[in-house]
Symmetry: C2
Subunit: 161 residues, 2 copies
């Protein structure tokens, strides 16, 4: 009997060994957390602008590697989430990086369309968190804008929420 992965002609990766092996090895052995997910930060491959942080399960990571387009796992909808399936805002992968303990990924992507964020901003990271002594006055921290506003009409692209 063939192993399922060989049978179905799918990408396979290694099982995890020791911590040091994972750091030094050139074998890909991604670590999924207790809920079966690994975080992936998408960045614009030209400007290095951070676009969004989402999660992948084994299946969506495999689909990402196989298709060259970002596929995540939606924690709220509990399903595989092909980025851009609704909006057309596909993320074409240029490079994928993995960190020392192989429990985080960076996707350097070509962001199709007007933006990555479902709110209508180009990047999900559209607000700045201020910091420093001046905040210690007992009033809640107020965010600041990090961009010039919306790049597309989210309601038109995604429909009513």
């Amino acid at each position: 009997m063939l192993f399922p992965a060989m049978n179905s002609k799918r990408i396979v990766w290694s099982h995890r060994c020791s911590h040091t092996d994972t750091e030094n090895s050139m074998q890909f052995s991604p670590k999924f957390d207790a809920t079966g997910l690994i975080p992936a930060l998408a960045m614009d491959y030209r400007t290095q602008e951070p676009l969004m942080l989402a999660y992948m399960n084994e299946e969506s990571l495999r689909m990402t590697l196989e298709t060259g387009e970002a596929v995540y796992y939606s924690r709220s909808r509990r399903e595989i989430w092909r980025k851009g399936a609704t909006s057309g805002h596909i993320q074409k992968i240029h490079k994928i990086l993995v960190d020392c303990d192989q429990d985080a990924l960076i996707l350097l992507v070509d962001q199709m369309g007007a933006g990555a964020c479902h709110t209508g901003h180009r990047s999900c990271f559209y607000r700045v968190v201020p910091f420093g002594d001046s905040l210690i006055d007992g009033s809640p921290v107020v965010l600041e804008s990090a961009d010039d506003g919306f790049t597309f009409d989210a309601e038109k692209v995604y429909g009513k929420k």
Copy 2:
């Protein structure tokens, strides 16, 4: 009786309301996961090079905002982790970004010393994950180098593992 946060002169933030409020509001209301953590990706503020992905609990996020230096929570050691406490490789915060649903942070930092990674690499993201059809041959995915190797001697800086 004063609230503890006011009493101790510490930074405070808002409680979370609805999902839409969290996206549109300028009130900072970070979302911690079921284990009390929020992911934070540190990037070089000059080059936008991704350096490391780590986690913060409420206390370490508050310490980060108060001190202007990255403080994380070590999941393996289960303790507050002042980045650079052992190595001197402190991360001075230049800017903090928060995403739409306020459950992920980007730290734009000035990385002190030779690197962010405990392995001796400047960045934890020192390996590339290849992708594409050519990988579908049944053999495990092999990583590629993403940098020019070590920038410091991890054993000297961190001591024996």
